[in-house]
Symmetry: C2
């Protein structure tokens, strides 16, 4: 394809301020990129139109060509199904007349005459420019399926050929493209080729804002774009970015500071600067703490300084606890002191409309190369350093999950939930207004942090989604990332110049990108918290074979429902395993899968079946359905279960085990006992433990473990 030859066309269109290219212009682009279209050409007169039609063969379609008419159909600018030369000539005149009527002074370049295709499957390929993720490529079914059912999938450009092909299977009606009910499938390679070419096109010309090939008629052999719409606009400005090593350098010092200054430290109870001091001290942080206060000489037993500049030693983190209006000046001092990280607790910035104040603050920070967390945050916790750089109450249960939140309220929920469920955490970070530090920076740090094995994030927007996607794709290969993306249902207020644009509800793009990056999306706050709690204790699954062992048939049914809901497949039980399980259970118990050991069984039946399933290499994960009985009370079950799992671990067998405990209140204590021993157990719910296991599997598949 000759990219340079198209440059003048694009530049002229841009210079003329044209949003959408005309059909002949779009045709030239398709030709250059080898995107197949029906035979077509531009006619300046009715006679030319008829001549072209005869050359292409009937029937034909005629479309008005004018830069002044964006919506041809609306302007009566399209006539289909013309079967004779006479009809074509008449249609030509009619189109010109309609165009003039629609827009008196429209400059009309002519009429596009196009061979009319019939048959084949209608699909669409498009491209949009997303403010966060940049160029996105779309594929969907044509007609009703994309219009009404919104059956469409997005990928970040560039899309490789293999990925293009995978998009065909990412839509709801994918089966249609393979062929259903005796209908033949379509030429998948041809469609993938068009997707790839559209991706190439928007890569070559960043001015192209939107592309819309809709419909494309795909047949058993080949695919042709019947209608092509290309919208030109301004190139997106590149975002400033730090390199991964710059990020890591700063984050290392921020998360593991040798010293922390508290700007606005206070001896007075109830002040934020007092809470921060207390939390640092009481949390057990071992580094130096420097209270900064204009007058005090000592605060909470620590020597105080009028300014960070008065501290002789290096300072790694400055926690700000002063009113917004004083922050820029203090930031300048922090910068001059070469402090790499500022934790901006103060509110009163962009979140209350003071964008200017925030920009000023960030300008000062950037000048001195200070990375800024916040503003408008509760601060952060990092348990490996016993660091509570926050005004909230301390939290010290160590664990393997790092959590972050864009909202303070969600952050408080993380703390409350963690405390209530004794969830171990490595870090809890408030990102607030995200003037600077954001999810990418955290991911870059947590990726290499051995204290962190799972990352859970609440986020309302990604300022640089492209950068996030790059980092997340890499990190998710090693550690599960769970994200609660809030504002799911609020569609982006985007000008819908094209069809694809209209379909690119902000959330559909987030959904596809997160999946593409291997990020596990939580659909609710509770899911985020539960996944954070559960994923960190579950070992990685080694395969897809899941077995349910249940003491309650009723739970078995609900657990099976939950498996389907969470994309988990119950192992089809081989006859030898079936026979083996039957040996342990009463004759009226149901083997197969779920293995229904029935309700009246003693502890040994649970123990035997669980032990057998753990020992059996063909079984990869276990879902247990415990039912509270007098014969096997909750804590008896919990203890035997933990013991059997521990035995297996001692032998080097570590499989994900989750459990649903139904029964009286004693099942709560039993569930906690099990969780503390690496078994995700939940009382009064069949769906939650399975959802946690499902999240682990979603991650493991995306990370290529399965």
């Amino acid at each position: 394809m000759n990219k340079n030859a198209l440059r003048p066309l694009i530049d002229q269109a841009r210079a003329a301020g044209c949003a959408a290219l005309t059909a002949p212009e779009a045709q030239r682009i398709c030709d250059a990129y080898g995107i197949p279209t029906p035979k077509q050409g531009l006619a300046k007169t009715a006679a030319e139109a008829a001549k072209l039609a005869s050359r292409f063969g009937y029937p034909v379609v005629l479309k008005i060509v004018s830069h002044d008419i964006l919506h041809k159909t609306e302007a009566g600018g399209v006539i289909v199904g013309l079967e004779t030369a006479t009809a074509v000539r008449r249609a030509f005149d009619q189109l010109v007349k309609s165009a003039k009527r629609y827009k008196k002074d429209a400059s009309i370049e002519g009429v596009q005459v196009q061979q009319m295709l019939r048959g084949g499957q209608e699909v669409m390929v498009g491209a949009v420019s997303d403010p966060s993720f940049g160029k996105m490529i779309a594929f969907g079914m044509g007609g009703v399926l994309v219009e009404v059912m919104k059956d469409i999938t997005f990928r970040m450009a560039p899309v490789g050929k293999k990925e293009a092909l995978s998009m065909l299977d990412a839509i709801g009606a994918a089966a249609v493209l393979h062929g259903v009910r005796g209908q033949p499938g379509v030429d998948r390679a041809a469609l993938a080729d068009i997707i790839w070419k559209v991706s190439k096109l928007v890569g070559d010309f960043p001015e192209i804002q939107e592309v819309d090939l809709n419909p494309i008629f795909a047949t058993v052999k080949g695919a042709r774009a019947v209608d092509v719409r290309i919208v030109i606009g301004d190139k997106a400005k590149p975002r400033p970015r730090f390199s991964q090593s710059e990020i890591l350098g700063a984050m290392q010092r921020i998360m593991n500071p040798r010293s922390v200054a508290v700007i606005g430290a206070s001896a007075e109870d109830g002040k934020i600067g007092n809470s921060v001091m207390k939390n640092l001290i009481n949390g057990g942080y071992q580094g130096a703490i420097y209270p900064i206060h204009p007058k005090a000489t000592e605060i909470l037993g620590r020597k105080a300084y009028p300014s960070v500049l008065d501290v002789a030693e290096d300072i790694d983190v400055a926690v700000f606890a002063i009113p917004a209006k004083f922050c820029a000046a203090a930031m300048d001092e922090a910068g001059r002191k070469k402090i790499p990280g500022a934790v901006m607790i103060p509110s009163g910035f962009a979140e209350v409309g003071e964008q200017g104040l925030q920009d000023e603050l960030l300008g000062v920070a950037r000048k001195h190369n200070v990375r800024v967390m916040g503003p408008n945050i509760y601060g952060f916790y990092y348990t490996p350093q016993n660091l509570c750089a926050t005004f909230c109450t301390p939290y010290d249960v160590k664990g393997k999950v790092a959590l972050s939140s864009q909202s303070g309220g969600v952050g408080m929920s993380i703390i409350g939930f963690s405390r209530s469920t004794r969830m171990g955490v490595s870090a809890i970070v408030g990102l607030g207004n995200k003037s600077d530090l954001d999810e990418d920076d955290l991911l870059t740090y947590f990726e290499q942090d051995d204290h962190t094995q799972v990352i859970a994030m609440h986020c309302e927007d990604l300022k640089d989604g492209r950068s996030f996607a790059e980092v997340a794709s890499r990190v998710s290969k090693r550690k599960p990332i769970v994200m609660l993306k809030a504002g799911r249902t609020a569609l982006g207020a985007r000008a819908a110049a094209s069809h694809t644009g209209a379909l690119a509800g902000n959330d559909k793009i987030y959904d596809d990108v997160l999946r593409q990056c291997g990020v596990v999306r939580a659909k609710s706050l509770n899911d985020l918290l539960q996944f954070a709690r559960g994923l960190q204790v579950l070992p990685d699954p080694q395969g897809e074979n899941i077995v349910v062992i249940t003491g309650a048939g009723g739970s078995g049914v609900l657990l099976s429902d939950a498996c389907v809901d969470n994309g988990l497949t119950l192992m089809k039980m081989p006859p030898d395993l079936d026979a083996a399980f039957r040996k342990f259970i009463p004759p009226f118990g149901a083997a197969g899968n779920p293995v229904d050991i029935t309700g009246g069984e003693p502890p040994t039946t649970y123990a035997n079946t669980i032990r057998f399933a753990l020992d059996e290499p063909r079984i990869h994960s276990l879902i247990l359905g415990y039912w509270h009985t007098i014969i096997t009370p909750p804590m008896v079950f919990a203890k035997l279960c933990a013991e059997v799992v521990e035995e297996a671990r001692a032998k080097g067998i570590d499989k994900p085990v989750v459990a649903s405990l139904v029964g009286d209140v004693e099942v709560e204590e039993a569930s906690e006992y099990l969780y503390e021993r690496g078994i995700v157990a939940c009382p009064y719910t069949t769906e939650l433990p399975v959802a946690v296991l499902g999240a682990k599997y979603r991650w493991a598949r995306a990370a290529g473990l399965l």
Copy 2:
């Protein structure tokens, strides 16, 4: 339509053992019922076929006609798009040849020649015979949408004309039928008419098992069924039913017994018959208790009898706590004693494959008109009578929700969850094998029970779905019914079959029927429990205008997401209300909806905005997003909130108020405090309180309150 004229056709087909009617037979039925089809006729020879084709106009379709060929396409029995007489003659010969090749001795009646329709929207109308719900009428989009996207909706026959029309809007692609993107809509009345006629047809001929009009070509004017398939089979046997007054008579005595006998009562700890006795006594039941034991003279201080026949007074309920094999004999005695209700705790019946034992037991019960709860159950609780007729631990927190479960495990969860969350209940009933008493009977009782205002049911199958639907449709008009239908998914359904021996229900049919009956479907066990807990304290909503008041912007976003997920619409805030709210909140707070009062506000800001929203008649329900701060701690919020709601109630204003509390562990206590005062409040979750409100609205809409 001439129903009688069709009788011989149906009878002959049935007598000949033909499952599916031939095209000409189906055509006769369509003609009789006025279901429009393309022009068509049966040709016995190639020449006849060509003659018919010329009469209908080209193109035509030819289809083989043979009772021996069920799957025409598979047999190469259909040729489409024939344009000339020569082509038709050739096709005729080819069809006959293919048929013979497919099935050597196939008896061929001829070839159906049919005018070939083009254009229009493909839809389908059908009927199936469901083992639980009987005749069901289906409507869906044709082609890909129904095949791949399963875009279909079901209604119980008979379907009235208005209901038929509503089915057109119950599918995902409903918009297509109205017309989208410049495409015209279809003739909705013509489609509704076909639906109505199919319903009439299967009503007139119960032998018709399935009808399949697929595709139907619907255009702007009219709709014609291109392919018609009608399958004949045995009529379903009518199910024995009790009248509503018979049910109520027995249920009144069972739920409010003056006396209870315990068959198999025991003085020995750990025995079921001992637990039942203790629970009856310790639960505070005030009626007479008769322990039945072959030898004992007294058990737990109550005079014991060798048989119920030895008790002089009337007995209303007999709780069985003896082995399965002795039950039939004991049932006979209970029957002779004219005890109206037997609570069959024993297991060892159908659930372990002993269907015969269960049938025998039921036979004895039916003979004496004893209604049977179970077998294989934990028993039941009815708090208005302080009645714990169960071997589980007593439960006595009185409330307005009646729960039932088909599974013992789920029943135990109900008890544990209730105790843990202090949920008030009126009844908890185990239905187990449902040999006799089932959901309809419970609904009939709870409908008129003033102690019960919400009914929550776990169920794996409905033995007589038709009867349930009738009762549920009536009861749901007055009281919310929530149902967790287990075995929702294909996997779940399989487990259900192995558990109870019940047939797997088609979940789509359950889903549509439950919605049609106004039953709120819970998608998980936790939802069932939470809805049961929450719905009973929320007053009925008076309108659709919902306002979110939040102290955490982040919660506001998540609460808005949850509203969309739960079918709730945030009120578009009128300018005067917007202005009024702005008076209470800081200048940088966001009015509109959610009303974001911002995080640093004192209790008065919460109080003022909540009070204003309660007093404002245009606002119908409130969702609160509380954020834990030092200025407004959790219990301060809880108390002020309860106070303001109480004030409003004192003025006669009672609106549904739900709250999400994010913060540290103190939000748990605050949530409980609020719940006890009729506000559904949940810690660490934004989605749950909105889901409960959503369930209330789903019910209220179905009940016609909104």
